[in-house]
C-alpha cells in the first residue's frame, strides 16, 4: 500500500489527476474529520476539505517527501480549516454572536464524544482538536489561532472539563 501511495504521489506531482483522485479517495475521510471537528459545520467542513485538496494539488510539486504524504496533507488540512475558523471568528466579532451557540451539529449517528466535541465553544473546540487529536503543541496552537499560549492551555482544560461532564450526562 505504501508503495502504491508513493506511486500516486509521484504521478500526481507530474500532473496526473487520476492519481490525485486516488489520493483524494484514500485521504478524504481523514481530511474531512479534521475539518468537521474544527469547524463543527458540515457545509464548511466540506468546503474546507475541497480547499485543502486544492491547496495540496497546488503545493504538491514542492513536496519533497521529508515527512510522509499523510503528515504533509494533515498539516495542510489543519491550516486550511484554521483559516476558515479564523474567518468565522472575525464574523462572530462583527455580528456579535454568542460563541457558545456556534457550530452545533445535530449528528445522532455519531459517537457520543464526537457529538460532544462539536458542541464545544468554538475556541475550546479548536484548541482541543489541534492539541488532543492533531498533536500540535500549545505554542503552535497559539500561533495558528492568534491567541496567547496561556489561553490555549486554559481553553484545553475547559474543553476537557465540558466533555467529561457532557459525556457523563448521557
Amino acid at each position: 500500500m505504501q508503495q502504491q501511495l508513493e506511486t500516486w504521489v509521484q504521478q500526481a506531482k507530474k500532473g496526473d489527476q487520476q492519481a490525485f483522485y486516488q489520493l483524494y479517495h484514500q485521504f478524504k475521510g481523514r481530511v474531512y474529520a479534521i475539518c468537521l471537528r474544527l469547524l463543527a459545520d458540515r457545509g464548511q467542513a466540506e468546503d474546507a476539505t475541497q480547499e485543502a485538496f486544492v491547496r495540496a494539488w497546488q503545493q504538491l510539486p514542492g513536496f519533497r517527501g521529508d515527512s510522509s504524504f499523510s503528515t504533509w496533507l494533515h498539516s495542510i488540512s489543519s491550516r486550511t480549516a484554521v483559516d476558515i475558523w479564523r474567518k468565522n471568528k472575525v464574523m462572530r466579532l462583527v455580528v456579535d454572536e454568542e460563541p457558545e451557540e456556534q457550530g452545533y451539529v445535530d449528528a445522532p449517528e455519531m459517537p457520543q464524544l464526537e457529538q460532544a466535541i462539536l458542541r464545544l465553544p468554538s475556541q475550546a473546540r479548536a484548541v482541543f482538536v489541534l492539541f488532543a487529536l492533531e498533536g500540535y503543541q500549545h505554542n503552535e496552537i497559539a500561533d495558528l489561532l492568534g491567541i496567547a499560549e496561556g489561553s490555549s492551555k486554559a481553553q484545553y482544560h475547559r474543553a476537557r472539563q465540558l466533555l467529561r461532564s457532557w459525556v457523563d450526562e448521557n
Binding site: K28, G29, L36, E46, T49, V54, P61, R164
Partner: protein
C-alpha cells in the same frame, strides 16, 4: 462525570476518518488547474522564437536615409553607421544565444532518461550541426552582411531544433 482516564480512553477510540455526506470530487476536480509543464517542447519553442526573432530583426530594419544639414550623403552615412553597429551587436547577441542554446540542448538531452529508437546517435547528429554552424559563423565573422550565409545558418538551426523537438516528442510518447 467521567474521569480523565476514561475521557482519554474515549479520545483514543475516535475514528480517524469521517465520511462527508456528499461527493466532493466533481467540484474539487473542476478547481484543479492542469500542471504547467515547462517541458522540452515549451522550452524549444521559446528558444526557436528567440533565435529566429534575433535573426530576422536586423534584416527588416527600415532603410530610410535622412537628410541632414551637411547634405544627403552625410545623412545616409550617419544612419548607416548606427545600423551597421546595431547589426553587429545583434549578431554577437545571436551568437551568444546560439551557444547557450546548444549548451542547454545538450544538457537537457543528456537528462532524457530513455532515448527512443532511431535517435541513439543523437549526440553525433547534434555535433555535426554544431560543427556546420560554427563554420558558417566563422565565415560570417568575415562577411557579416552575406545573406546566403545567414540563411544557411538559419536553416541549420531550424533543422537542429526540429530534430530535437522530434526526439523529445518521441521520447514523451514512449
Amino acid at each position: 462525570m467521567k474521569t480523565e482516564q476514561q475521557l482519554d480512553a474515549m479520545i483514543s477510540q475516535l475514528a480517524p476518518a469521517l465520511e462527508p455526506q456528499r461527493d466532493l470530487w466533481p467540484e474539487l476536480s473542476a478547481r484543479l488547474e492542469p500542471r504547467q509543464r515547462r517541458g522540452y517542447g515549451a522550452w524549444l519553442g521559446v528558444a526557436a522564437a528567440a533565435v529566429l526573432t534575433l535573426w530576422f530583426w536586423p534584416q527588416q530594419l527600415p532603410l530610410e536615409p535622412q537628410l541632414t544639414q551637411n547634405g544627403a550623403q552625410a545623412g545616409v552615412n550617419a544612419t548607416q553607421a548606427p545600423q551597421a553597429q546595431a547589426e553587429m551587436s545583434l549578431l554577437a547577441v545571436s551568437e551568444q544565444l546560439t551557444r547557450q542554446l546548444n549548451e542547454e540542448q545538450t544538457r537537457q538531452l543528456k537528462a532524457l532518461q530513455q532515448i527512443p529508437d532511431g535517435f541513439s546517435d543523437w549526440s553525433k547528429q547534434i555535433a555535426i550541426w554544431n560543427k556546420a554552424q560554427a563554420q558558417i559563423e566563422l565565415a560570417l565573422a568575415y562577411q557579416p552582411d552575406n545573406q546566403k550565409l545567414i540563411q544557411q545558418l538559419q536553416r541549420l538551426q531550424q533543422q537542429q531544433l526540429s530534430y530535437i523537438a522530434k526526439l523529445v516528442e518521441t521520447s514523451e510518447l514512449t
